[in-house]
Every structure is written in C-alpha cells, then in structure tokens.
C-alpha cells in the first residue's frame, strides 16, 4: 500500500489541486479549519466543494426559480420534489444528468444515470412508476455518435427494463452542437401517500447509521470532480461506475419495505461522492453531526483506505438512519432481500463529520464547512451577448414544398422515435395509458380516477439564439405537452446543461435562461421542485447549445379527459389554436438551409401561451375534442403529418389564408400553438369557447378518405403540397431506424 501524502506535503506540493480544490479554496479550508487538512479531509472538501456537489457557480442563480405553490409538498433541497395531485396522493419526481460518464462509457454511463435517479425517488418513500429521458447527440452520420447513441439507449433500457419501471416518455435531438458532448438526462416519477414523505436528514442523537446494499469498491473514485472538469474524454474510464440493476431492484423493494415500517429516520442514496456526500448532507439537513467507523463498511476488496471508501461511487448503496432500538428491523428486511447491511456509525449533536479507522480518528471536520459554507461564486456574466443567429440570411423560397416537408420528417430530431422506445419496456406495471409517441405520457393512479401526466422538453437551439426567450419556451413547451394530453401542469424539474461557467458568455446564457424559465414558471403556475445543473459540457473550447431540459408533472383529473395526439377518422375538423405566423426564427428548417442556428428564438408571448393552454384545457373538459398536439420542431406542416395515425387510411385537406410567407407558415416554429381535431358536431361549441376566452382559433380544414395531404392557399389554384399521407408517414416512421442501420457496433 502506498502511503498518503502528509498534510504538509499536500500544502507544499499543491496536491490539493489534483483533488479538485483551487488555491483560494484550499486556503479557505485551512483558515476555517484552523489547521492543515490531512489527505482524507482534503479529499472530502475536494468532492463536496466540486461544482457537481456544491452548485457553487449556479447557486445564486437557482435562487431565482419560483419554488412555492399550494400544490408543492416538497420543494428543492431534498432527494426529489413532491407535488400533491389530490386524494392524498403525492408525486415525487426529479431529473438528473449523466452526460460526462455517458460520453466515455455510454452503456454504463446511461444505466447508472437511470439507477441514480431511481434511488433519488424511492428514498422519498415513493414507489417509482415511470422513467423519462432527454437525449442530445451529434448527427447520426458519424459512426462514433451511432455507437454512443445506440449504447446509451441500450443502457437506459438495460437498467429500466430490469427494475420493472416503464420508460414512457422523453425526447431525442440530433445536432452538431452535441457531437462531442452528448447529453443524457434521466427523469424518474414515483407515487407516495402525501403525508408519508421520507426526508434525507440524519436526526436524533444516538440513532444508528447503516450502509445498505452493494459493497464499497474502488470504482468511480473522483466521479464528481470528473464531471466538473473540462474534457472528461482525457480522463480514465475507470472513473465511470458500473450499474447492477438487479441489485437496484432488490434495494428498491427492501428500502420501500423498510420505510413502510416507519422506523427510518432518514435515508439517502450514495450518488456522486458516495459516502462523503450522503453522510455530510444528511447531517447538514438535520443541523447535527455523524460519526462513522469505517472498518465496518463492507468492502469489495481488502486493503481499501478510508480515502477510497469515502470517495468510492460504487452503485446501489444507501445510507440509512434508523430509530434507535429498531435496528433489528433493518437486519431482518435487508437479509430477506439478500442485501448487505452494516451498522457503521451514529448520529451526533456536535456538528462534525468524524471518521474512525482502526480506532483512530482519521477525519474530523465541521459539517457546516463541508456543505453549507462551500464556496459560492458570482461568476462574471458577459455584458453583451451577440445574438449568434441575427445576421444569417433568410433562405430563398423552395421550389418544391413537399420535398422540404419530407426532409424535415426524415430529420432524426423530428422522425418517429420508435427505434428508441421499442427497446424500453413501456407497459410493465400495466398502468401505462399513454406511452412514448404521445405529447405527454399518462399513467394510472391506483384507486383513483386520476392519471399522472408527464413530459420532458427543451430546445437548446432556441436558448442559444436568445437565452431568455429560449428558457421561457422550454418551460412553456413542456407544459403545453401535458395540456395537449388532457392534463394540468403542476410543477417542473430540470436539468440545466451548459458549457464552461468560467466563460462570461456561458454565464450570460445560464442566468438569462433561468430568468426566462422563472417567468414562464410563474405565469403557468408550475414552480420548480427539483433539478440538477451540468456545467463544463464543452470540448476543445466549443460549448454545447445551452440546453435547459424541463421535466413536467401534471394531473389528468379524470381518465375520460385523456386526449391523444393522433387521430384516425375521416370527417374531423382540424383547428389551429394560437396565431398563424410566418416567421422562420430559430426553426430547424432555417438551420438546415443555413447550416447553422439562424434568426432569433421563435416568436413567443407568455400571455398568449397562458391563454392557449387555458383554452385547450377547457376545450378538453367542456367540449370534448378528438386529439390535440403541440406545434413544435418542424412547424405546422410536420405537426399535421404527425397527427395522422400511422395506419389510418385517411387524408386531410387544409387551406391557409393568403398574405403570409409560405415557408414560415409551413415550417416556422412560432410558439404557443396547438393543433386540435374535433368532430363536426363540436365545432360551434369550440368557436363559442374561443370567442369567450378571446383565444385565436382558426379552422384549417378537415380529414377525409382521400389518403392525401393537400395544403393550399386561399385564392391560389394549385396546392402548395399535395402528397400521399401514407408515404409521408413511412418517411417519418423509418428515418431513425434507417440512420441506425448503418454500422455502429
């Protein structure tokens, strides 16, 4: 065993730098501690003061998010947020990024991302009911990207399928911006009795502390500092952990059983920075301390040092504080599930994290200094942000609009995602009402008429072009998805994926995006209850599009209100809710023409957004409509094709008013718009409702049996598009698979 450097060596040789501390941070530790920290202690500060654990660059900005509301049972600060959906039912949810590990070891990086977010949900006492994920990759013409993407999908499925939680929603975007920095954001949603939320606090002096689940190994040491550094590719794959979904499943069942006894005082997943963050954060939440005897931690191999044990990120481990005197319950239940359990320490009231090894104190530091007094940086924000798409010339009008529509339908960002979700178990738990492919996923709530609605969304291109408006759109669009499916959005979680925070323009993007998101959250009464920040998504000085991904949870009050995004009948009237617009700002169409993000963010107005969402909610409740769909990437023409059920032998005739620029009308991505379809008998009621609510509503056309999509302009003799719908659907359905059928293994 090599010997660890002494405290003096660490200072003299600047070894703290390789443990993740800057010179100033190290000086702060020494000053507050009143002595030089030893190697283990320096390591504890290194991980807990890392960007990943301390949110030191983001904290002051995250405070701007609205986090309150009558529906909020648990806001940010715990392992997950919880909202109240009524009938005494709480819904816990959170989204988390696993970008850096997935770029290096895609299968395990994605799988452990799913495992980690799963544990965050069940530690709240919630039974997980669904997974969603948001993925960002480079273009699929690159074999390495296909390798990364294919293995990330397999890894997400590998973990989720095995633990028996359906993966029922999400999105995937393919853009050059993510070529070197793919984004893998996983969301988990769980259900619990509203009055039985379990917290991650180590309270009650003398209560025993247990390590539960997997043995501690040497894998993943420095994972948290690794995620906070530029160019993780230069780092070793050994910093990526390996997941064991079978153990994850057993741990979930055992912990839920244990929590149901009421004897659990506090519980937390050992995620990033493993035993260090779980013990310190749990002690911090209770305002107390913890002492642990590290000899008692079950290890995978002999000879592990305290440093290795404290910084290991071995998966499928939990830290549990039990009520004193009820230790035997933990042993009984964990043994039933064939899981490791060891009592390693106890809760104290002296506010210190004290670690023993071979009867010697090997670390003794104040919890407050580790967690609450971690540095906070008000990083420099660029004074001006040069709008990156402002000077791009508009493309010339196309000759053949049908061809342009086909190109959009075949773009992997737009194309149907069944290649992805057929690899996920979407129907296990036998509760899925709407799975992937709908605007929002809907899940049954046992013993209730209600459904839980959930969706994730976020368009990095919009945020890049205009951070504030783009941020607002991310929230609005996610909520719009829930509304389209018949739901009322209640709250959001988010993953804020950004570049290097040490660059003022990245901090501009970050702070402005949060401003925009907060405005939309307030307007739509959807506060932020949990979330995660991922900085340093940059390679070779190139940052990704600033990409806040929003996960939203809502409720459908009655399963009768569940509204699909597709229709299959002839004779339906098709309406546009919102304004007809011909702007191409920020559209994928313009980007494809210009080979770069172009224009401003799409036109967006919060007041209109609120209005159209309210209208669709009431139309679903009071009028009853056949289908509703959010108009998003690809614009109106794409949305029309998407709404036609794949095998339906129907056609659609649409006529648009004259006086608009055709490319923008067809392919523009102006926000705050839905398409809805309704039976002819409902049309008067719809129009009355729109009149009452002052909501723009435009009849576009109707479905028929022709099998053709005909889009024409009033007063013009020949249609702009006249195409076989079946052929269009075929392009839309097969594009992603065709891309992936090129070699990637």
């Amino acid at each position: 065993m090599h010997t660890e450097p002494t405290a003096e060596q660490i200072e003299r040789e600047g070894i703290y730098r390789s443990l993740g501390l800057t010179d100033a941070e190290y000086a702060q530790v020494v000053e507050k501690l009143g002595r030089l920290p030893n190697y283990l202690e320096t390591g504890l500060f290194g991980v807990l003061w890392s960007e990943h654990c301390s949110y030191k660059s983001s904290r002051i900005h995250l405070k701007k998010f609205p986090t309150d509301g009558p529906q909020v049972l648990q806001g940010p600060g715990e392992n997950a947020g919880v909202v109240d959906i009524g009938d005494g039912i709480g819904i816990a949810f959170k989204m988390e990024s696993h970008n850096h590990p997935s770029a290096v070891e895609p299968y395990q990086g994605a799988a452990t991302g799913v495992g980690g977010i799963l544990r965050d949900i069940f530690t709240m006492g919630a039974r997980p009911i669904a997974f969603l994920n948001s993925l960002r990759f480079g273009p699929l013409d690159d074999a390495h990207t296909r390798y990364l993407f294919g293995n990330v999908v397999a890894g997400i499925g590998g973990y989720g399928n095995c633990v028996g939680i359906p993966t029922i929603g999400g999105e995937a975007v393919f853009d050059p911006s993510y070529r070197h920095n793919p984004l893998v954001n996983a969301m988990c949603v769980g259900q619990l009795p509203a009055d039985r939320i379990v917290k991650g606090a180590a309270s009650g002096v003398g209560n025993p502390v247990f390590v539960v689940g997997s043995r501690t190994g040497r894998d993943g040491i420095h994972g948290a500092t690794f995620a906070s550094a530029e160019d993780p590719h230069a780092k070793e794959r050994s910093a990526v952990q390996v997941g064991d979904p079978f153990l994850g499943k057993l741990l979930m069942e055992a912990c839920l059983e244990l929590m149901a006894t009421g004897a659990v005082v506090g519980i937390q997943d050992m995620g990033a920075a493993g035993l260090t963050s779980s013990s310190a954060e749990m002690a911090s939440r209770a305002g107390g301390g913890i002492e642990m005897m590290l000899d008692r931690v079950p290890c995978r191999e002999a000879g592990m040092t305290p440093y290795e044990m404290m910084l290991s990120e071995s998966q499928e481990r939990m830290l549990v504080v039990m009520e004193k005197g009820k230790e035997e319950l933990a042993f009984q239940i964990l043994r039933k599930w064939d899981l490791q359990v060891a009592e390693v320490g106890r809760v104290t009231d002296d506010g210190r994290l004290r670690l023993y090894f071979h009867d010697e104190v090997v670390a003794d530091v104040p919890v407050r200094l580790l967690v609450d007094e971690a540095p906070v940086y008000d990083r420099e924000i660029a004074a001006v942000y040069e709008p990156p798409g402002a000077h791009v010339a508009l493309p010339p009008d196309p000759v053949n609009y049908q061809l342009e529509l086909e190109k959009l339908l075949a773009h992997p960002s737009i194309a149907k995602k069944q290649w992805i979700y057929h690899q996920y178990d979407t129907s296990v738990r036998a509760s899925t009402v709407f799975g992937p492919g709908y605007d929002a996923a809907l899940v049954l709530v046992p013993d209730s008429e209600k459904l839980v609605a959930m969706a994730s969304d976020g368009n990095g291109r919009y945020v890049y072009l205009n951070p504030r408006v783009g941020g607002a759109i991310a929230v609005a669009e996610a909520c719009r998805n829930v509304v389209a499916a018949g739901g009322v959005p209640l709250a959001i979680t988010n993953c804020l994926n950004f570049g290097n925070p040490e660059k003022p323009e990245v901090m501009y993007q970050f702070s402005q995006a949060i401003e925009g998101m907060s405005e939309a959250c307030r307007a739509l009464s959807a506060p932020v209850v949990s979330g995660n920040v991922s900085f340093y998504n940059e390679t070779g000085g190139e940052d990704i599009y600033p990409t806040p991904v929003v996960g939203v949870v809502g409720v459908v009050e009655d399963s009768q209100l569940a509204t699909p995004s597709e229709f299959s009948e002839a004779g339906l009237a098709v309406y546009l809710v919102g304004n007809l617009s011909d702007g191409l700002e920020g559209s994928l169409y313009w980007q494809m023409k210009a080979q770069q993000a172009a224009g401003d963010a799409p036109s967006f107005d919060l007041a209109t957004e609120v209005k159209v969402q309210r209208f669709v909610q009431r139309a679903i409740r009071e009028v009853g409509i056949t289908a509703a769909h959010d108009i998003s990437e690809g614009g109106l023409a794409v949305a029309l094709v998407e709404m036609v059920e794949e095998t339906a032998p129907i056609g659609m005739t649409v006529s648009l008013p004259a006086g608009f620029q055709l490319p923008g009308v067809l392919f523009g991505e102006a926000q705050s718009r839905f398409l809805i379809a309704a039976q002819a008998s409902k049309e008067n009621m719809l129009q009355d409702l729109a009149f009452t609510l002052h909501t723009p509503l435009l009849r576009l056309g109707e479905t028929n049996t022709s099998g053709e999509l005909v889009i024409s302009i009033d007063g013009e003799s020949s249609p702009a598009i006249q195409a076989n719908l079946h052929e269009l659907k075929k392009i839309y359905t097969s594009a992603l698979e065709n891309n992936m059928n090129q070699s990637w293994r």
Partner: protein, 228 residues
C-alpha cells in the same frame, strides 16, 4: 379458486399478473415468495415476467434452483395448470418442464411492442376460451425471446399440437414463429408475450383475458366434476 404468483428476486410482472387475474376472474391471487416450499393450497400457478436474479447468467438459469421450484414440479406432475410468462417461460425451459430454450433476440435488441399472435390450439387449460386461428393482440417485452429447439423437438411439438401461439410477424427470430408452447401433459404453458398486459381497454387490447378465463374455467369445471 386460488392462484399463486411466484415471486423471485427480480420478478417485476408479479403484481401485474396478480391484478390481471383479479380483474378477469375475480379469484384470489397470492404472491408466493421463492423461499416457500409448498404450493399445496393453489389451483393454478403463474411464473411471472421480470429478470429473476438479474438474468446475468442465462435467463431463468438460477431461478430454477429456488426452493419453490420443487413445489412447482410437484404441481406440474399433479396436473395443476402452470403458466410461465416471459421470464417465467425462460424459467420453465431451464427447469426442463418445457423443451427448448429462449435465446437473445435475432437483432440483439430488447423489443417492447404490441404484436399479433395466432392461436394454434384450444385444446389446453390456457386456450380453451379461444378458437384456433384467432388473432390476438398482446404486447411483448423481452431481450431473450427467440424460441429455439432442435428439429426433433419442433417436429414433436407440431405433431402433438403443442404449439399454443405463433407470432403473425416473427419479431425475434423464434423457430417456426413460436410464441408459446405446451408440455406433453398440456398443463404447463410457456409464452413470451404478456397476456396480463392485455386485459383492459386502456391497455389497447383485452385479448389476453382469455388466457386467465380459460384457466379459471378449466379449474372450476374440474372441481365441479370432482364434486359429483
């Protein structure tokens, strides 16, 4: 009648099967832990889907050694209807209660989707409620569902009318599109698709209900016959 749904560590369709039984038949359905050793009280046994023991070796290869499996074997000999769904099918082949094996899907991907099945025989406790040739819509969700057997076994299955279901459009490369097979005595069924996920309108199909109804009817009629 009383149903037992066996729970192995890693089973994850156990509660779905239990709920489907209750929904379709109104019978009592009990989750039975793999460490139990007796199934004497039960009239029908379900080995549910999931990933028993993580399926890290071969699917079902470890579950076959679970203490409960001795009782399952005994019930099989006694003629009790036993249905293995997905991972349960894999366990039954590993336990040699059914012939053949389930290999990784032809394209090596996990597949979850609604598929069409053709009922090949209604001479069994599991399919009596159907007609041969009926087309059922029932979801699949598996990574190792490619049924494989040598030609002698395939010939025997064919001759004895022991292929219960075939895929209309083979999704995984199964020999002769086989989705489900019966034991020699016809009281053990293994099938890869999930009938418990096709028993309610919101599931987009109720075609799976016939499997549970058939078993219920078979057991209650047999009990009735014994009573006379």
């Amino acid at each position: 009648m009383k149903w037992a749904v066996i729970v192995f560590p890693g089973s994850n369709c156990d509660e779905d099967a239990q709920q489907a039984i209750i929904r379709v038949t109104g019978d009592e359905a009990t989750l039975v832990w793999h460490q139990e050793t007796s199934l004497a009280d039960y009239d029908a046994i379900v080995l549910p889907g999931g990933f028993s023991y993580g399926d890290y070796l071969r699917s079902g290869a470890i579950a076959r050694f679970a203490p409960i499996m001795k009782a399952v074997r005994d019930k099989a000999v006694q003629g009790t209807p036993i249905i293995g769904i997905c991972n349960g099918f894999q366990v039954l082949t590993e336990a040699h209660l059914l012939p053949g094996a389930l290999l990784r899907n032809r394209d090596l991907h996990f597949h979850c989707k609604m598929v069409e099945l053709r009922v090949e025989t209604n001479r069994s406790p599991f399919t009596a409620a159907y007609q041969p040739g009926d087309i059922l819509r029932i979801p699949i969700a598996h990574g190792e569902g490619r049924y494989f057997a040598d030609s002698a076994i395939l010939h025997e299955l064919q001759e004895d009318h022991r292929v219960a279901f075939r895929y209309v459009d083979n999704p995984n490369g199964s020999s002769e599109s086989i989705a489900g097979i019966l034991s020699k005595e016809r009281n053990v069924l293994g099938l890869m698709p999930h009938p418990e996920r096709a028993v309610a309108d919101f599931m987009r199909s109720t075609d799976g209900a016939g499997v549970f109804r058939s078993i219920h009817q078979y057991v209650t009629e047999r009990e009735g016959a014994h009573a006379h």
